[in-house]
Each structure stands twice: as C-alpha cells, then as structure tokens.
C-alpha cells in the first residue's frame, strides 16, 4: 500500500498545481475524503453497488492455454467482465457516492475513448444526477458508439474544440467547467491523474482490483502472493489498483505496459515515462510528453485509452524508486497479443489491456512462476480497429 504525503506528493511527484479558482473545491475534497472513504456508511454503499450493480468480485482466471504456450502460470484478472465493460466503473461508483456525500448535484467528467465517459454517465443515470462529459472533437468522431451510449444514458456530451481536441483538451475543458461552476459541481476524474487528492482517491477506489487478486490468488494456490503483476498504463488507474496491495512486498515484481505507439523513437508514441520528462500537467508534477519549450505535445497510440501525454504521479514515483518497471509496447505488439488471447482463451480484450498481455513476450517468465495480468476491459469498443487490422 502507498499513500501520498499531506500535500499530495509521492516523493517529488504529485501535488496540487492548481489555479486559485479551484482551490476551495480541492481543499474541501482534501479535508474530507479520507474520513468519507473510511466511514462505515460509505463503505457499505460502495461494496453493495460494486457487488450487485457492477458485478464484483471479478474472477481470477487461470488461463491454461496461455500458460502452456508460455510455459508459466498465467492468471487473468477479469476486469473486462464488469458492468460497462471495464474497470472504470469501480472508480465512478466510488466518486459519485463521494459527490453525494458532499451535497453536489451536477457531475462532470472527461473522456478519451469514451469508457470513462460511459462509466460516469451510467452512475449519473443510476443516481439521477445531471451529467456533462467533455470529449475531444476528434475523439467524438472516432468513437461514435460510445458517444451514443452516453447520450442514451442521459448525459450531455460536450466537444472540446481547443488545442488538439483530444483527451488532454477534454480534461482542460472539464477543469474550466469546474472553475465556472464551483459550488454545485463534482468532477469525476477518470484516472490516477490530476491534482491531489484525485490520484489517491482513484488509486484507493481501484485498489479493489489488487485486493481481490491477492485474496483469490491465496484461495486458489494457497500461496500468499504471485511473482508478477502486469497491467497497462495510460493515466495508470487499473495498474495503480492492481499494484496497490503488493507495493510493499518486494517479492512481487510489478510491470506496467506503456503505449509506445509506432515505437519509442518514432515521435508517434504515448510512452510518457520512457520518452517524456518531468513537468506539470493537469495540476500534477509527473512524467509527461513535452517539447523543448515546455509545451505539452500530442501523444499517439492506436489505443485511445492510453493516448494521454502524462501519467499518474504514483507511477512516476514507482518508476524512479525502481519499485515498478514500465515497458513500452507498440501498437503492433498489442494487436498481436489481442489476437493471441482471443484465439487461445476465447477472450477479446480491449486494446489497452492487450498492451499488458504483450508483456508476456517482453520478459522471460519461468516454469512454475505465477504471473497475474489485469485484463482492464473488453474489446467490443475496439472491434472497428480489429476489423481493419485483421481484415475481418
């Protein structure tokens, strides 16, 4: 387990680099989130919704065909089986309950591929709250089915038309909305990014993934922990949640897959830790992609969910302290891994999750070792890409 210091720093990373206009909202959240998150009433509501509404716990599946192929024991944490199709719902349920505790009536969110937007629109519908989702104009064109889903759920999808008109700009627009609506609105951030206390809130809400891994692994093997935990990292929420209970146990090797896009040296990449350097993005000091003048550059990955120019400050900290290793995985390697999982296990993974699966080819795993891979989401939303890439 790992928590930031009282100012929101993991080592040198994190903090709250925010305009004064956001300060009262952030301060309010900071002063009460710990208490709310650990209160019995909140925990009860959360676990009841996670179980009966989202479908938790998700299985820890021993993938025997994949295991035979790699001559090691591969376990899949099936976050793809959650309601709305990914781990994103763990966080949106938790945050909307927090919003209700704070007496907020209006929900805003940012989304890239639309997964977090759908998960937010879903819980807003459930709680009967007004919901506005900001989405880059370019992404709206690329992700029409998810836009329709959000609308069907009753959310308003507002295009972000500034800058590069993608996820980072949608995040800017959501922050601006929050500045303009400081009293009634709650911002549900989709990943372990943004100003303190968001990285900590989202990490803790996603830690249910890792806690279940630990528990199910013990039940199924009689062993206390696996040898490896593997996850994909865009902002890094499913990785933060998967790693969380194992961070203090050095016997567990933590591997994160960053999206290398067309390759680390191609200039068309979203691997913020491998290719970027330190700076401030969306209120947090962390690794990010920028040019020589400190302007944030547009990342590239075939996978829209990993297409973010920064990374959660927790991951920057785990990287520099050598507690976790982050490995760039290209579009091509992820596509190969997606097809392989589909053919060997009959599971079509999200393209994001396929990056984590591709790590099986990037490291030598020994016979008898136990490797847990978080399948963060299902591949339905990526079918157009798969159809194009695999000539289906």
């Amino acid at each position: 387990m790992i928590y930031p210091d009282s100012k929101g720093f993991y080592g040198e990373f994190g903090g709250a680099f925010i305009p004064e206009m956001l300060l009262p909202n952030i301060e309010r959240l900071k002063s009460c989130y710990n208490e709310i998150l650990s209160s019995d009433g909140y925990k009860q509501k959360l676990s009841s919704l996670l179980n009966d509404y989202a479908g938790r716990p998700t299985p820890l599946y021993e993938a025997s065909n994949l295991s035979s192929f790699y001559n090691t024991n591969v376990w899949l944490k099936r976050e793809d089986l959650n309601h709305t199709g990914s781990h994103k719902i763990n966080n949106t349920i938790g945050q909307i309950l927090l919003a209700k505790e704070l007496g907020r009536t209006r929900i805003i969110a940012e989304t890239g591929a639309g997964q977090h937007g759908v998960a937010t629109a879903t819980v807003a519908a459930l709680m009967n709250m007004e919901c506005v989702v900001y989405m880059g104009e370019v992404d709206i064109e690329r992700q029409a089915p998810n836009v329709a889903r959000m609308k069907m759920l009753g959310a308003e999808v507002r295009p972000a038309v500034s800058g590069s008109r993608t996820l980072k700009d949608a995040t800017n627009e959501a922050l601006r909305d929050w500045i303009n609506n400081p009293t009634d609105t709650f911002y549900i951030i989709g990943s372990v990014v943004g100003p303190h206390p968001y990285p900590d809130i989202v990490t803790r809400l996603q830690s249910v993934i890792g806690i279940e891994i630990e528990e199910h692994f013990r039940l199924k093997t009689g062993k206390d922990y696996p040898d490896y935990v593997l996850s994909c990292v865009g902002g890094g929420s499913n990785a933060a949640g998967s790693f969380f209970p194992f961070i203090n146990n050095d016997n567990v090797t933590l591997l994160g897959a960053e999206a290398a896009g067309l390759g680390e040296k191609s200039g068309k990449t979203a691997a913020s830790m491998a290719c970027g350097d330190k700076g401030v993005i969306h209120g947090s000091f962390t690794y990010l992609m920028q040019n020589d003048d400190g302007q944030i550059t547009e990342p590239y990955s075939l996978s829209a969910g990993l297409d973010y120019p920064g990374v959660g400050p927790l991951h920057s900290f785990l990287k520099v302290s050598n507690r976790a290793q982050y490995i760039p995985v290209s579009d091509k390697e992820a596509l190969d891994a997606a097809l392989q999982l589909t053919r060997l296990e009959g599971i079509v993974p999200a393209l994001e999750s396929a990056h984590a699966l591709a790590l099986l080819n990037k490291r030598e795993f020994l016979h008898g070792e136990n490797v847990v891979i978080t399948v963060s989401g299902r591949g339905d939303k990526d079918m157009q890409t798969y159809m194009r890439e695999f000539n289906l």
């Binding site: 903090g15 004064e20 800017n172 500045i179 401030v280 969306h282 003048d293």
Partner: protein, 255 residues
C-alpha cells in the same frame, strides 16, 4: 517606472493583458509600444501555453496561434530585451508553470531581471508551493509573484496572500475562466465590498470579465484598477493597424 510608484500616485489604473507573439510572432514589441502610447498604466505579457486551464476560448485561441507562430520563452525574452529600450511602463509576465520549469526556474528569474520584469502571475502555482519550493529563488532576485483571489477565497486566505504580496493582489471578478462577461449582481457586489472592507496592505487590481467602460468604472470604485485581457486580444486579433485600434480600444474603456 516601478509598479509601486504607479500604485502610490494614481487611481483608476488600466492594465492590459496580451499574448506574446500574437497576432504575429513579432507583434510583441509593436503591441507594447501601442499600449504605452495609448496611456495604459502597465502591461501583462502572456507567455503562451498549450494547455491554459484558467483561460477561456479567446486567450486559448491566441495562445495556440502564437505557439504556431513559433513563440517560445527564449524568443519572448529576446523580444522583451528589445522592448526595454522602447517602452518605459512596467511589465509583468503571466503564464503557466510548466514552460518555466522546463526553461529552469532560476534561469527564468534571471531573465526577468535582465528584462526589467518586476512581477509574474503564475495561475497554476499556488502560494503554498511557491512558498515551500520557489520563494527563495524569486525573492533573492527581486522578482515577485502576484497571487489571485476569487469570490470563494476565505478572508483568512486573502489576508495570508496579502501579507505575502510585494506588488499587488489580482482580484478575479467572478468564479470563471478569463473572457466570460461578469454579471452585475448582488453577489459580486458583496464580494467587492468584503474585500474593500478588509483594508488590505496591497493594492488590488480586478480582472476577468472586464470588457467595457461600464465594467471598468464599476471595479475602479472598489479597487485600484482593472486588468483587461480577452477583450483586448479580440480587438487586435484581425487588426491591420494595431496602433490606432489600441488607441481607440483604450479610449473606449476609459470613457
């Protein structure tokens, strides 16, 4: 002229924000000359950033445009060195923190000194982070941050920011990003009065949503003056004669 002299000697101050490198890469100096000739009291030079979260569409647009023109911090400081020979009113810089971090905070402060920049407005560097990590670098060289206060800022925090200000406090007129018209409502009036009655040691300039003579006059009744950004950026966006457009803009504001 130093900023503090201006505050001591004049009221109803008019400060204008513009984006460096906009509308043309080399407009920076001509815009500054036009503003001085038009009688503006001091200027905020905007350092463009790719992701300006506290700004509305007008300043976002001018920032993107200026970056596409090729503006950078390095180039901006070269322009400001030249400007120093041509204009004499005080200049402050306004912009986001990441380009400064990349440039190097010490080097940034050093260049400010060389260009006669007396203050900086860094909206995404809150007081606490400034105080803990960067204060010594700025104070040692006599460059000072200007902090923002908003309708949501508590009296206690306003006092803290006031005590730690060396130039002035920037009063954000309403809860919004830049360029939204600020409503003439009772809530805003109560906020203006609340701040006025605190008898702060620092001068106060009001900004965000000031766009015409009426809104200018209104805030001058409560504070030392007003800062106008988006309205001016719009006024010179498609200008073919910046000098005369600036003159008429300032006349219109002052009334």
């Amino acid at each position: 002229m130093r900023l503090t002299n201006i505050f001591n000697n004049k009221s109803d101050l008019l400060s204008v924000y513009f984006t460096a490198g906009f509308p043309e890469l080399n407009s920076t100096i001509s815009v500054l000359e036009a503003l001085e000739n038009a009688g503006v009291d001091f200027v905020e030079v905007g350092m463009p950033f790719s992701d300006p979260v506290a700004d509305g569409p007008t300043i976002q647009g001018s920032s993107t445009h200026a970056l596409n023109n090729g503006i950078s911090l390095k180039l901006l400081f070269e322009q400001l060195e030249e400007a120093k020979k041509r204009v004499s009113f005080p200049l402050i810089l306004m912009g986001y923190f990441n380009p400064i971090l990349k440039f190097g905070v010490e080097r940034f402060v050093e260049r400010c000194v060389e260009c006669d920049i007396q203050g900086v407005i860094l909206p995404d560097m809150p007081y606490e982070i400034y105080d803990e990590k960067y204060r010594h670098i700025f104070e040692k060289r006599g460059v000072f941050p200007i902090f923002l206060i908003t309708p949501q800022t508590t009296d206690e925090r306003i006092k803290l920011l006031d005590e730690n200000s060396s130039l002035f406090l920037y009063m954000v007129s309403s809860s919004s990003v830049t360029g939204k018209s600020s409503g003439n409502n009772m809530q805003q009036l109560a906020y203006f009065k609340r701040v006025a009655e605190m008898k702060l040691k620092s001068p106060v300039m009001t900004g965000f949503g000031i766009s015409d003579n009426k809104s200018f006059k209104r805030v001058c009744g409560y504070t030392n003056g007003a800062i106008i950004g988006s309205a001016y950026v719009s006024a010179i966006k498609n200008s073919v004669d910046i000098e005369s457009d600036t003159l008429s803009f300032v006349k219109r504001i002052r009334g």
